[in-house]
Amino acid sequence: MKKLIISLLSGTLFGLGLSLSQMVNPNKVINFLDITGKWDPSLAFVMMGALLVASISFRIVLKKPAPILEENFHLSKRTDIDKPLLGGAAIFGIGWGMSGYCPGPAVAALGSGGLEALVMVISIYIGFFFQKWVASRS
């Protein structure tokens, strides 16, 4: 139960952060990616704000032997730079630039009730299932 309250709190703070920083607005995101146009550096400042907090806090948190409500930390231990990582990131970036939404803002924007967010979230899931289906065949 405590873990679920933390999940709700963490998700809500994340949604508030995305709203306050206007990252739920796809125009704001596309204007950041549009470096040759009317460039809006706000997204870089969102990342800076998040990284200022998280890069310090993670260092402190991960010194602990375990998280407060779990037996251990669930972290990726991979360090290899492989083709799926770079290819996947490249494909993700293309979709991000096309739509103006990455997964977080797409879900958060559901709270504004727009049709765009709904289409985006459903399409992301179709992409998930498609990728899983292709991976299961090879």
Partner: protein, 139 residues
Amino acid sequence: MENFTPYSALLGGALIGLSVTILLLFNGRMAGISGIMNGLFNSPKSEYIWRAVFLCGLILGTVIFNFISPDFFIPRQGYPLWLIALGGFLVGIGTRLGNGCTSGHGICGIANLSKRSIFATITFMLTGMVTVYLIRHLL
């Protein structure tokens, strides 16, 4: 530079930093949204509920914000839905192949100084910029 909003961006970013810190400190999880979304349909029940609750919180955050500040966000009008659908499809494939998105790689991974995340973030920023350039300035 147009409509540049450095203060709300920094403050909103700090809230996101606080969010990912809380999830890691208490639950030992990285708040990568694409992974959480994917896990909604791919995990045993014990692993499913916290993800669903987190995503509800994400929506709730926007609902609360819209309630406090109703005129802040005006939805985009007239953008072609097929571009969103195709974009979403690619975001779905790409984040699964590459194991993360802007939050998982761009924030949590970089904060953890993961080399994979730094490479992934540079890559999706670049292809995102090229895509916007092509759509806005060449097509």
